[in-house]
């Protein structure tokens, strides 16, 4: 993609106009905008700015999305950031450097790059189409003299024989060869991998497709990072899916040395209450149903609790996943509500891996809060032993497990994988199978010998030095020219 080529394409698209007149004003403005986005220099600046932004987002702590959603949590996060970054925290907060990847300016940069890619692709389409399908076979003398890589040689044979041999040498090197003869000369054009030129469109447009995929996923998808189901329970997925998930069993296995070997959840998926699918989810093998996938994310302890009211009627009987950590002591903690009583009950388990003086093993601490947040009553409940608290009768039935799943719907992801494949194909075409082109002309000399010239274009983005040398040697060999003797002039083709 040379700057010169871009400029030419531009000139063709927007021929210079002497002065703007009223009616042409819009076209003029549009032309200027278009011109701005055809610049490869703009592409470089944007790429480097985005790289710098991504680097900043790597080096500076980024606010988690869950914290952003909650102003109070963000304030306390910012407090912590202040102690780490000092006065810079204010600057980073103001410039959105704590949230680079969701900031307005980062999106603007991405938007500009997208426009840049689209405009450049449109701009170059015609030119590349022409080079792939309609290349001139016969080039003028000036080309053979001034091309970046050129060579001239004399063959001791009639021009038709020389041309035939050059043709053969190029074909042997797996070039596609075209010839055009006139009275005293034969022009030859040969190329390889000509379709690789289209790789530039594949690789650039795949970036636009990936960005489109992320937008589609953002609009029509959802992601629930903490979907929790206790063993034996069934939980609604929500998000308008009509699905619910039941956990039959959670298993965690460990190697003898201690590290984890496997986490797996046996799941049953229900669609509007009807069982539609079941299977076991492992960390590297999710379960999906109708575009919604379930991934193993975490797990923990569940306390199966039963609550009876003063009349002995059961008002709650279910597993309470202790999925959070208490701030003091790091104990597993969970909660449930009693709508009839307008109360919330917190259940806290013993801290793991140590003897907990407050909550011994085999017990759960139960705290009953009124809706306003006032503690009504609290106490420890021993497994299998009913206990009266706040006028209710609590039983800690038994311990079991819950699984934490990540539930994802991302309708953009398939577009992203298609784009990824196109990108790899495009880049492989451009860099592993680059287009190679070479022109030759064989002219009759008065003494009956043939004047053979080779040349190829100066394409800075394809290293052609070695390839050109290689082809020159093949042609020489075919023409029976040995060594450097017959070379009258050479371009900058020496390594």
């Amino acid at each position: 993609m040379s700057a010169v080529e871009t400029q030419e394409g531009l000139a063709a698209a927007f021929p210079a106009r002497p002065r703007t007149t009223g009616g042409l004003w819009e076209r003029e403005v549009l032309g200027r905008v278009w011109r701005f986005f055809t610049s490869i220099r703009l592409a470089l600046i944007l790429i480097l700015m985005i790289a710098a932004a991504v680097m900043a987002g790597t080096l500076i702590d980024q606010v988690p999305a869950s914290v952003i959603a909650n102003p109070a949590a963000y304030d306390s996060w910012l407090q912590a950031a202040h102690s780490k970054y000092g006065v810079w925290a204010g600057v980073f907060d103001f410039t959105q450097l704590f949230n680079v990847f969701h900031s307005l300016w980062f999106r603007i940069l991405i938007g500009l790059l997208t426009a840049n890619i689209i405009v450049c692709s449109v701009n170059r389409w015609k030119g590349i189409w022409k080079t792939v399908f309609h290349t001139r076979t016969r080039m003028g003398d000036a080309f053979f003299q001034h091309a970046r890589f050129n060579a001239a040689m004399t063959a001791q044979m009639p021009v038709s024989t020389a041309a035939e041999r050059v043709h053969k040498a190029l074909s042997h090197a797996r070039y596609r060869v075209a010839t055009q003869a006139d009275d005293s000369s034969v022009a030859i054009f040969a190329d390889r991998n000509r379709f690789s030129r289209f790789g530039t469109f594949l690789s650039h447009l795949s970036i636009v497709m990936i960005l489109a995929g992320t937008v589609i996923g953002g609009i029509w998808g959802f992601s629930d990072d903490s979907f929790i189901v206790s063993e034996g329970a069934i939980q609604d997925v929500g998000h308008g899916t009509g699905l619910s998930v039941g956990l039959s069993h959670f298993t965690d296995e460990y190697y003898l040395q201690g590290p984890p070997k496997d986490y797996s959840s046996e799941l049953v998926i229900y669609d509007k209450g009807v069982e539609v699918k079941s299977g076991t989810v492992h960390v590297n093998s999710p379960l999906s149903y109708k575009g919604i996938s379930f991934h193993q994310a975490f797990f923990g302890q569940t306390a199966v609790m039963e609550v009876k009211d003063a009349n002995g009627a059961s008002i709650f009987s279910a597993g309470v996943p202790l999925a959070w950590q208490s701030l003091n002591g790091g104990r597993p903690i969970g909660s449930f509500t009693l709508p009839a009583k307008n109360e919330t009950v917190y259940v806290t388990g013993p801290a793991s891996g140590q003897t907990d003086p407050t909550i011994p093993a085999g017990e759960m601490q139960v705290e009953v809060y009124q809706s306003g947040g006032t503690l009504v009553s609290s106490g420890n409940v021993t497994q299998g032993v009913a206990k009266d608290l706040a006028g209710l009768n609590f039983t800690f039935v038994r311990e079991s497990r819950f699984t934490g799943l990540k539930v994802v719907k991302d309708p953009g992801v398939n577009l992203i994988w298609i784009a990824a494949i196109l990108m790899v194909i495009g880049l492989a075409m451009l860099f592993y199978f680059p287009t190679k082109r070479i022109w030759a002309i064989c002219r009759q000399r008065p003494d009956g010998t043939a004047d053979v010239r080779l040349a190829t274009t100066a394409e800075r983005d394809l290293s052609q030095t070695k390839e050109f040398e290689n082809m020159r040697e093949r042609v020489k060999l075919a023409l029976g020219i040995s060594g450097e003797g017959d070379d009258r002039k050479e371009g900058g083709a020496h390594v």
């Binding site: 790597t58 992203i416 790899v424 800075r460």
Partner: protein, 288 residues
């Protein structure tokens, strides 16, 4: 198998260390030679030194090939012993990185018949091996997240290809900056160094794209999200962007030559940051 792998590693390390010394003798000696012939004197020592230097160069190449063979054996034995590719810890990945740098270096030495790149590229490979000796080499069983052998093996294979190529481009770029006006007789010409840097990026850039894509595919399967702005992900994206910038810079007037070469050096900085980034940051990639 594990012991065999360790022995092969020691052999590869020793061979490479010796090779680097001989390359230094070869290249720096050539420098001395070019100075002497410039001065016009010392014809006696010049004639006796020349063949010695050539021999040093030849042995350096032979040793590098040996180091490469030993390192290959080391990786194969280890893969047999562990039952998976070299992706489970920094030890394995460091060896793989060295292997990538050696492959790419040898390919370019043969292609361009020049040894001066060894001065910059092979110390990187040697440094990686030296680093590997400082981290635990035990084979540990795979944690659940890493139990995706095929995908992760290919992911690492293309990653080391990319990293090796970027190391080579780095070497060529540094030499280019010294040689930009073709003033140093014992170094390859600037135009050749420029081409080597570009060729290396042509190998590495698509490989890096595939590395990121396969990483995203794995993340999507294991974590349910193809991209989570994890430090390792972002660092690899920065690396890819810098080389993407280089490929564009190379065709812009005013950016050819030295500025492009500087981008290659910056890009290799980002590569090393990508590689070691997880030592400073947490994230999903904290095992290597």
């Amino acid at each position: 198998m594990y012991e065999l792998s360790q022995y092969a590693f020691v052999a590869a390390f020793a061979a490479l260390a010796l090779a680097v010394c001989l390359y230094v003798v070869n290249v720096v000696g050539a420098r001395g030679l070019s100075r002497m012939s410039l001065a016009g004197g010392g014809s006696m020592s010049t004639s006796s030194l020349g063949p010695t230097l050539d021999a040093a160069g030849r042995y350096a190449t032979i040793l590098t090939v040996n180091s490469f063979a030993f390192l290959s054996a080391c990786l194969v034995f280890r893969a047999i012993a562990s039952g998976h590719g070299p992706f489970s810890n920094m030890y394995e990945f460091s060896l793989a990185f060295s292997w990538g740098a050696l492959v790419l270096y040898l390919y370019f030495e043969v292609q361009y018949r020049l040894r001066s790149l060894a001065l910059l590229v092979l110390p990187v490979a040697l440094g990686m091996m030296a680093y590997a000796t400082t981290v635990p080499s035990d084979i540990e069983p795979l944690v659940p997240a890493l139990q995706n052998n095929t995908l992760l093996t290919v992911h690492v294979a293309v990653a080391i290809l990319a990293y090796g190529a970027f190391a080579l481009a780095f070497g060529a770029a540094v030499l280019y900056l010294f040689q930009r006006r073709d003033t140093i007789r014992w170094l390859p010409r600037a135009v050749v160094l420029d081409e080597i840097g570009h060729k290396a990026v042509m190998v590495g850039f698509p490989a890096m794209a595939l590395t990121i894509i396969l990483g995203a595919l794995w993340a999507d399967i294991a974590w349910g999200t193809y991209w989570s702005w994890d430090p390792k992900e972002t660092a690899s994206l920065v690396t890819w962007l810098i080389y993407g910038g280089y490929l564009h810079a190379r065709v812009i007037r005013g950016w050819r030559g030295s500025r492009s070469a500087s981008l290659l050096i910056l890009g290799f900085g980002a590569t090393m940051f990508t590689y070691y980034g997880n030592l400073f940051f947490g994230g999903l990639h904290s095992y290597g």
